[in-house]
Symmetry: C2
Subunit: 468 residues, 2 copies
C-alpha cells in the first residue's frame, strides 16, 4: 500500500519515487541512482532545453570537475557561501596532492580563469557558454531529486560589454526557464527577484522562479544570476572597447537541475502515484492487451501505426505474468499519461478504451476517432491549468503578522505581504515561522502597504513560504 | 607557423588542438577544457551513438560519481588494475569522512551492487543500461583527448542469463562501435580480441577496435568486455531461472570516450591543420564572403536556403576585420569540410566557388548544380577510403624478429606476426621494442606460422604496434 499524501507527504514522495523506479538510494549516504524511468525524463528535459539554450547563441563546453583551492578562494562572497558544502580531493594516484582540489559545487571560478585567457576585445563579446554536468555539494539533510550530494544540471555562463546587456541576458534566461516550466513541466511558476540574503553568493542579484507543491511548500525551480563585475575583477576578465579603453566584463550565470523532476512529482502526483506531463514522460502512451491472442496484437498494430505517425513514444505491456488490473495500478503508479486497453470487445467493435492519468475516467471511442496527439496535448494543458488554479488559490494576502502565522500553520502556500527591505525583519520572520521570502515578484502593481513585521514603509510586496 | 607533422608529430598534435580551439589546458595539471568547437564534435558523436545504443535495447541511467572503498575492493583483479589510478575524497562538508570515497575510474562496482537489488528472475534479464558520464583516472603522462585525468565517455553494462548471450552482446556492441568509426569518424579500424595481459581488469575477455594514426602509432578506439560471472559472484547478482534454480548472471561492459576526437585529429589531419569528417563537424560548411555589400549577402541567402533544405549546419564568416585569405587559412586550420567563397564574380555569373578540405582544390560551378549533401558525402567517403588505404599499406607481415625491429624503427604501423600465446614472449617484445599486441584480429584465415619471438608454434596471427 502507498502512503497517502494527506497522511505523510514526505513519505508519499519517497515511496512514489522508489516504487515508480524513478530513482533509488545509492550506497553512499546522500547520493542517488537515477533509474531508466527517471533518467528518461531528464533526457527529455535536456533535449528541449538544449535547443532553447542554443537559440540564445550559447555553445556547449566542458570544464574540469576539479577546482584548485586557490581559484576557489578568489571571490570572497563566493567562497564564503560555498565553502561549507565542498568535497575535497587530497590523494590521487597513490600520493598526497600538493594542493587539494575542490569538486565543483558550481563552475564560476574554474571557468572565469579561462575566460580571462579567451576574452580580449569587444569583438569577443558577448561570450556565451553552457555545460551539462554533475555537481557536488555536501548536504547533511538530503532528499531524492531535491537535495542530494551529487546532482545533474546545466550551468550557463556569459560575459557582456555592458551592464544593460547582462541585465537583459539574466532576464531572457529566466523567461526561457519559466516558459519551459509552464509548457513542458506543466507547472505554474512565479518569477521574481531574490532578496539580498537569498541571492547567489557573489552575484549582484538573482532572479528565480518559484512553484507551489501540493503540500503547500514552495520549490525554487531554477535561478538566473547577474554577476556584476566582481568575478571579472577577481579573475581579471578585461576587454578593449571600441575606443581602446580597457574594461571589465559584466557576467551572468544560470542553471536548472534534476531537482525539476522532484517538482514534477510534487506538483502533479496524487494518492495513486505519479502523474507525468505527456511532453516529458518516457512513454506518453501505454497499451495494455487484455488477452494475448494474435487478433489482439494485430489490432494493436493498427494503433501503433497511428501513434508512430505522430512520433509519440509508447510501450506495450506484454507481461503475461500479471493481470490487466495489476497493470492498470502499476501504470497509474508510474504516471503514464495515456493508458489504452485492448481486449476482444475493442477488437470486435473496432474501438479503443482509454483513460488519461489525471482524469482516470475510462472512455470508449471508435478507432477512427483516436487522435493521440490531441488527447495528450489536452492532458498537458489540464495539468498546467490545475497547477495554476491551485497556486493562485493558495496565494493569500495578509494584513497582520498574526494572520501571517495562522495561515502558515493552517494552510501553507504563498503568503503575500509587504516588506520594508530590511534583512533584520526577513531574518526574524524566518526564525519565528520558518518561512522565507521566496521572491519579490516582478509584478509590483498592487498599492503600497506597511511591512508585515515592523510596520514601517513596505517597499516591496513579496511572497513568503516554507520551502524545500 | 604550425609545426609540421614530419618535424614533430606530437607537437603538431598539441598545436592544432589549441589553435583550432578544440580544447585548452586546464589549470589542474593533466585536465583539459573542451571548447565549443571540440565539444560540438562530442555532441554529434553522442547524438548518433545514443540512438545506436538505444536500438540495442539499452536504457540510460545515472549512477553516483563516488564509490565507497569497500565496494571498490570486492573484485580482486579489478581493484588491482585500477587502484593506482584512483583519486580519493577524504573530506566533505568541513569534516573528515569515516570511509574515503573513490571517484569513479569506471562504474562496474557501484552499478553491480544495485544490479543485485534489481535482478531477481530470468524475467528481469537481459538487463541493459548505459550512462554518459565523466571519469577520473590519475594519469602521470597526459595528452589532450587521448589520456587526461578526467574524460567523458559512455559506459554500457548488461547482465544476461547465459554465457552465449553475453558473448553475443559483447560482439554486437563491438560491431556497432566499429561501424560507427568507419561511417562517422571516417577511420578504418581493425577489430579483434585483446591478449590476457591487455584485457580489462576483471574481464573474461576484451574485444577492441584499433586504428592507425598518421605517425604510424596505433590508437585503441574503444573496448567491449565479456565479464563472465566474476563480478556477479563478488556482488551477488543472482536470478531464478525458468526451472527455479538460482544462477549467477553473465555480464558485459563497454565504452568509448572523448579519446575518439584525438583519433579524428591524428587519422585525418595534415600540415595545414584539422580535417574534420563532414558527419561530425560543428559546421560542415563555412561560407566566406569576399566583399561585404548587400548583393553578396542576398546571393548567400540563396545558398543558405539550399543548405538548410538538406538540414546541414553552416557558418557564414562575416568578420570584416580579417581578409578572405586569412579566413581561408583559419578554416583550413579548423578543418571545415566544405569552404564556399562568394565574391562579385560568383554573384555576376550565378556560380559558387568551393573547396573540399581534403582536396584543397578550388572548384567553380553553377549555383544550380550545387548539391552540398553530395559534396559532403563524397568527402566523408574519401576520408574513409584514404584511412583504409593508409592502414592496409602499413600492415606489414614479418618473418623474423630482426625484420620486426627494423620495420618498427623505420616504418611504424602494424606488424603482423604469429605469436605462441605465451605472455612471456609478449612481455619481452614489449620491453625490447615498446610494441604491444594491439589485438588478435577476428580474421585468422592465414596459414599457420611460428612465434616471432620463440619460434614455437604460433597459435595466433596478431597485430603488434607502438600505441598511444
Amino acid at each position: 500500500m502507498l502512503t497517502k499524501q494527506s497522511d505523510d507527504f514526505s513519505k508519499w514522495y519517497n515511496d512514489i519515487i522508489l516504487r515508480a523506479e524513478l530513482a533509488d538510494y545509492a550506497p553512499i549516504k546522500g547520493c542517488m541512482i537515477i533509474r531508466p524511468y527517471g533518467y528518461a525524463i531528464w533526457e527529455n528535459i535536456q533535449k528541449v532545453m538544449d535547443v532553447k539554450i542554443k537559440k540564445l547563441g550559447v555553445n556547449n563546453v566542458y570544464f574540469p570537475l576539479f577546482i584548485p583551492e586557490k581559484f576557489f578562494k578568489k571571490e570572497a562572497e563566493h567562497v564564503e557561501g560555498f565553502n561549507p558544502q565542498v568535497a575535497w580531493i587530497t590523494h590521487g594516484g597513490g600520493k598526497k596532492l600538493e594542493e587539494k582540489l575542490a569538486i565543483r559545487p558550481t563552475s564560476e571560478t574554474v571557468m572565469y580563469d579561462a575566460f580571462s585567457d579567451w576574452i580580449h576585445s569587444h569583438r569577443d563579446l558577448p561570450f556565451k557558454v553552457n555545460q551539462w554536468a554533475n555537481i557536488v555539494r555536501w548536504e547533511m539533510r538530503t532528499r531524492l531529486f531535491l537535495r542530494t550530494m551529487e546532482f545533474l544540471w546545466q550551468e550557463g555562463h556569459t560575459a557582456h560589454a555592458t551592464e544593460k546587456e547582462a541585465d537583459e541576458m539574466t532576464k531572457t534566461v529566466l523567461k526561457m526557464y519559466n516558459d519551459f516550466a509552464e509548457e513542458y513541466l506543466g507547472i505554474y511558476c512565479i518569477p521574481g527577484e531574490k532578496t539580498e540574503s537569498e541571492k547567489f553568493p557573489g552575484a549582484k542579484y538573482t532572479l528565480t522562479f518559484e512553484a507551489l507543491m501540493k503540500d503547500g511548500k514552495a520549490l525554487q525551480m531554477g535561478t538566473s544570476h547577474q554577476l556584476g563585475q566582481e568575478f571579472a575583477k577577481s579573475f581579471n576578465i578585461q576587454f578593449l572597447d571600441e575606443k581602446g579603453n580597457k574594461k571589465y566584463v559584466w557576467q551572468t550565470s544560470w542553471g536548472v537541475s534534476t531537482r525539476m523532476i522532484g517538482g514534477i512529482v510534487m506538483a502533479h502526483g496524487d494518492d495513486k502515484g505519479l502523474i507525468l506531463p505527456p511532453k516529458l514522460a518516457q512513454y506518453p502512451i501505454v497499451i495494455i492487451p487484455i488477452t494475448y491472442d494474435s487478433k489482439i496484437f494485430e489490432y494493436i498494430e493498427k494503433i501503433e501505426k497511428i501513434i508512430r505517425n505522430k512520433q509519440i513514444d509508447y510501450f506495450i505491456d506484454k507481461n503475461e505474468q500479471q493481470t490487466p488490473g495489476w497493470k492498470f495500478n502499476e501504470w497509474e503508479l508510474k504516471g503514464a499519461p495515456l493508458r489504452i486497453e485492448i481486449g476482444p470487445k475493442e477488437v470486435k467493435e473496432n474501438k479503443i478504451t482509454y483513460a488519461s492519468r489525471d482524469l482516470l475516467k475510462k472512455e470508449n471511442i471508435d478507432l477512427k476517432q483516436f487522435d493521440p496527439e490531441k488527447l495528450l496535448n489536452a492532458m498537458q494543458k489540464r495539468l498546467y491549468e490545475k497547477s495554476k488554479e491551485f497556486t493562485i488559490k493558495n496565494i493569500r494576502k495578509v494584513k497582520s503578522y498574526k494572520e501571517f502565522k495562522k495561515i502558515l500553520e493552517n494552510n501553507g502556500g504563498f503568503i503575500k505581504a509587504h516588506w520594508c527591505g530590511n534583512p533584520k525583519c526577513e531574518k526574524e520572520i524566518q526564525e519565528e515561522t520558518k518561512a522565507t521570502i521566496r521572491c519579490i515578484p516582478f509584478d509590483q502593481k498592487n498599492k503600497k502597504d506597511v511591512c508585515i513585521k515592523c510596520a514601517k514603509e513596505g517597499k516591496y510586496e513579496v511572497l513568503f513560504a516554507k520551502s524545500y
